[in-house]
């Protein structure tokens, strides 16, 4: 029955109690008990969701203005399906265009080769003309091979851009917040120096940060044109805003985790006269990991929320920009598409949260976090 234990452990660590009754059922445990579990974790939510959809459909029939109406669940679903279908159509078209260009390049190369051979046989001015022709054909072939489709990003592209931006911002925040938090937790002096900054900047909304992040990036990238820099400017502005907002929960929790390491562990370190580095890496860091990860989980959640707003303002490609553009377009499908985006944003937020719960539970020595 080893797979049973392993799967149950996984459900617990991943914060997915929804699968637990199914695992137990498959392992041949008491059926009645498991059906109670399924009713609780599966049937009840399904009923709740069905009720919600019912109310939504009713509201969609009621909330109607001259120019627009609240999209119904069906309209939202259709708009979503269409967005995804559009993505695949677009990619298919891009692929075909690319194939065509590659074919063109092959043709150019063949012609260039023919001209080259002709040039070898010829002499004088004729030879030079043939060689020049061959060279220009080769150049055309290279540019054809390097062709990149320049179609507008689709909904799915925007999702990936957003996820990439949030992870990059979150990574930056973690790289800054964890070392600072460790220092704050270990040294009351350092903590005293940093506390005013934390207290004042923590409650600031991302939208206030954004223009400041904007000028810093503009200053840094002054003199470069688009495409010359490793990062896209708008991407960096969004990521920096995410970083500045998701810094604080990790910083505060890391400080708390490091400062509240069990006194007994510190006593052990004192008795053994561990060096500063040993104390940090063998005792303080492992002991404060659960709280640190709890902070990182909040940080990632905050980052994802902030990103949508930052994307809207910075006009960085991403879900926020998608929602904003749709709103500006004001087509018939606008509101259904926005409703679908809301759903997608929520689902991605959920997945990000589960990922962080998983990591937190991995390092929490057998005290899983409440999901």
């Amino acid at each position: 029955m080893n797979w049973r234990g392993g799967l149950l452990k996984f459900c617990e660590v991943a914060g997915l109690p929804i699968f637990e009754p199914f695992v137990r059922l498959a392992a041949g445990e008491d059926k009645k008990e498991q059906f109670v579990g399924i009713a609780k974790y599966v049937l009840l939510p399904i009923v709740a969701i069905a009720l919600f959809l019912g109310f939504w459909a009713m509201a969609a029939n009621t909330v109607v203005t001259d120019s627009a109406k609240l999209p119904s669940p069906k309209a939202t679903w259709d708009a979503g399906a269409q967005l995804i279908a559009m993505h695949y159509e677009q990619k298919q078209a891009d692929r075909l265009a690319k194939q065509e260009k590659v074919g063109e390049a092959v043709r150019y190369m063949a012609e260039a080769k023919a001209y080259g051979e002709a040039a070898e046989k010829a002499t004088g001015a004729k030879k030079e003309a043939l060689e020049a022709k061959s060279l220009s054909l080769k150049k055309r072939a290279v540019s054809a091979v390097n062709y990149e489709p320049s179609s507008a990003p689709t909904f799915i592209d925007q999702i990936w851009t957003s996820v990439g931006t949030v992870f990059f911002g979150f990574l930056l925040a973690t790289l800054v917040a964890v070392p600072l938090g460790v220092l704050c937790g270990m040294s009351p002096w350092f903590n005293a120096a940093l506390t005013p900054f934390i207290q004042v900047f923590k409650p600031v909304s991302p939208l206030a940060w954004l223009p400041l992040a904007f000028i810093v990036i503009m200053w840094y990238y002054a003199g470069y044109s688009a495409g010359e820099t490793f990062f896209n400017k708008a991407f960096l502005i969004s990521a920096t805003t995410v970083c500045l907002c998701s810094l604080w929960p990790t910083l505060v929790n890391t400080t708390l985790g490091v400062a509240s390491v069990d006194k007994d562990f510190i006593n052990v370190a004192d008795v053994l006269r561990l060096s500063w580095a040993q104390r940090l890496f063998k005792i303080i860091l492992p002991a404060s990991l659960p709280l640190m990860f709890a902070g990182m989980r909040i940080s990632l959640g905050v980052g994802w929320m902030v990103l949508i707003a930052a994307d809207m303002l910075a006009q960085n490609p991403g879900l926020g920009k998608f929602v904003w553009d749709e709103f500006q377009n004001g087509s018939e499908l606008t509101y259904a598409r926005i409703a679908f985006s809301v759903f997608v944003i929520g689902m991605i937020g959920l997945v990000l949260d589960r990922i962080m719960i998983f990591f937190r539970n991995l390092v929490s020595f057998g005290n899983p976090a409440p999901a």
Partner: protein, 286 residues
Amino acid sequence: MRGYVELFRLGKTYDTHKGPVVIVEDFDLNLERGEYVALLGHSGCGKSTVLTMVAGLNPITTGGVAIDGREIDGPGPDRGVVFQSPCLMPWMTALDNVMLGVNQVYRNASKNDRIDLASYYLNLVGLGGSLHKRAKDLSQGMQQRVGIARAFALKPKMLLLDEPFGMLDSLTRMELQEILLEILVRDKVTTVMVTHDVDEALFMSDRVVMMTNGPRARVGAIFSLPFERPRVRADVLDHPEYYEYRRKMIQFLEEQDHRKLKADAEAREQAKKQDEAEEQQVAEAV
């Protein structure tokens, strides 16, 4: 007489918002090399304060502690400490927990030698089969065994036990008491154990130091026990003087209790009188 371990007029004063409170005062004690001394007293009398001061984990207010002719200055691996809670790093294996100290003390030994040493002591406490289990997966009793192995593996000059079996059930407690004594037969380490269990003190120690109740706790009485080593529980219990010693110790503790009750009653009486006097004054003033 100079002992191997000397506690000289050891005292501890805590500053509280009501002013300084003297917990322990003029605590004098000499231990011979290899001796096992138990500190016995009521909860909160300052036994643990004395022990943590000897361990160097608690700053000494007055007096001093010398081990092997050198005064202590802060904590160090020459004094192995076993705390009441096992204090293992839950994310490390049993072996790694012991290795944490061994690596620190035997920096020059080869890695294999260090692992051998740590495994040797884990074997002695009966954990030979659980070297690579994580501490969080061990039972409380097993964790405390690792704690004991960790303390011995440092080859300390002195062993300090702070109610080491206090959190265990009585069967596990007896088992661990015997294991500890067995190891002490091989490695004769000078030991101070804090306990409030009279039978534990009688079974384990050479001398039992009875502490008076705090504040201003000090040595109240010292009993030298005549039981032979190595100790066998049945023999100790059958010893003609066992119950005599036990009676005396419990009598001492009860006297301390009475004294405390009496002192408390007096304090209450005093406070009452003061209140009455104040009320009188108020009444007169009105």
